[in-house]
Symmetry: C2
Subunit: 205 residues, 2 copies
């Protein structure tokens, strides 16, 4: 059996990673979603173990010490990380998994999984990004300014990614990502690996 695809969806703060990822989960039910751990407080409606594993700083630092995280980063005062175990087990079972993570974390995953598929979600424009960050209405002005300057820096990291998907419209962005998944499943190396695995299985039988 072929190992699953590791897909990483990232992009600057405020670009709409969460919204696109939720819609993608609804549309593409053969895709496993990696739940991140975080020390930030839950936003309204967020559920522990579904949106994130909400952890205290002490709990999180214990996970770091046990090397139980594939990547972690501190971002605007909070830790975010990807539990390693679940990702490895999903890939080994032949299923595809998607990680929705911050730009810094994505690059750490890339060090460990260079064969992953790295998708950068791009805002239609920087003006639009500022509007989205402001529009959320949950942060103070200085927090917004901080988030905007972080976002602009993050945009420069697009060069380490495989794909750029413009989030002009959620359905359109989802469609592009679904196409990327289908295309990556058709990669020749993947096809040949599948053939070799099939041959091995039939020779054993």
């Amino acid at each position: 059996m072929n190992r699953g695809l590791l897909l990483v969806l990232s992009g600057p703060s405020g670009v709409g990673k969460g919204t696109v990822c939720s819609e993608l989960r609804r549309k593409q039910d053969d895709l496993i979603y990696s739940v991140s751990a975080t020390t930030r407080a839950p936003r309204q409606g967020e559920v522990d173990g579904v949106n994130y594993f909400f952890r205290s700083r002490e709990q999180f630092q214990d996970m770091i010490a046990r090397d139980a995280l594939l990547e972690y980063a501190e971002y605007v005062g909070n830790y975010y990380g990807t539990p390693r175990d679940f990702v490895e087990r999903t890939l080994d079972s032949g299923k595809d998994i998607i990680l929705e993570i911050e730009v810094q974390g994505a690059l750490k995953v890339k060090e460990k999984f260079p064969e992953g598929v790295f998708i950068f979600l791009v805002p239609p424009s920087l003006e639009e990004l500022k509007e989205r960050i402001t529009g959320r209405g949950t942060e103070a002005a200085d927090v917004i300014d901080n988030r905007m300057s972080v976002a602009v820096e993050e945009m420069n990291l697009i060069r380490y990614y495989d794909y750029a998907v413009v989030n002009d419209e959620i359905d359109a962005a989802c469609h592009r990502i679904q196409c990327i998944i289908t295309a990556e499943r058709c990669r020749k190396d993947r096809f040949l690996a599948g053939l070799a695995a099939k041959k091995e299985t039939s020779e054993k039988a």
Copy 2:
């Protein structure tokens, strides 16, 4: 403006390249289709300038001499080739073009366009391929045997391609190819080249 994508659809004799490509043209109307030149006789219903440019051996050899072909190959006694001019002009205009060509020709195109997207159409099985070649009912037994052994050799050339698309069902194969086109349009390098071109245009204005 970005240069168009060069897509090459190839695969072993009898796999159904023509049928898939026709269906793709119907579904994806922003894709320009490269018409090949050939010295083989038209099959029933084939139209000169639409399915192929049907040429005499003398005319074809003149095109070779004038270097007017991007690739050409002799295959089961007939010449097949891709007029160069039309491909170059289409790409320069920013439009995507698809070439449906034999496996040998595709590899010659790859020498000249390593940045092209090379898609190998795969039969569901070799048994299925033989059935399709036989089922066409227009060739003698020794011609069928010859085509089968050529097809098996051609299958080995899949390693030079980017994608493997199984032609189990025409609609499904078309969908996969359409996804590959969408995904390739989202490639980060293409996105950044587009940004750079836009910036240049606005600085000139």
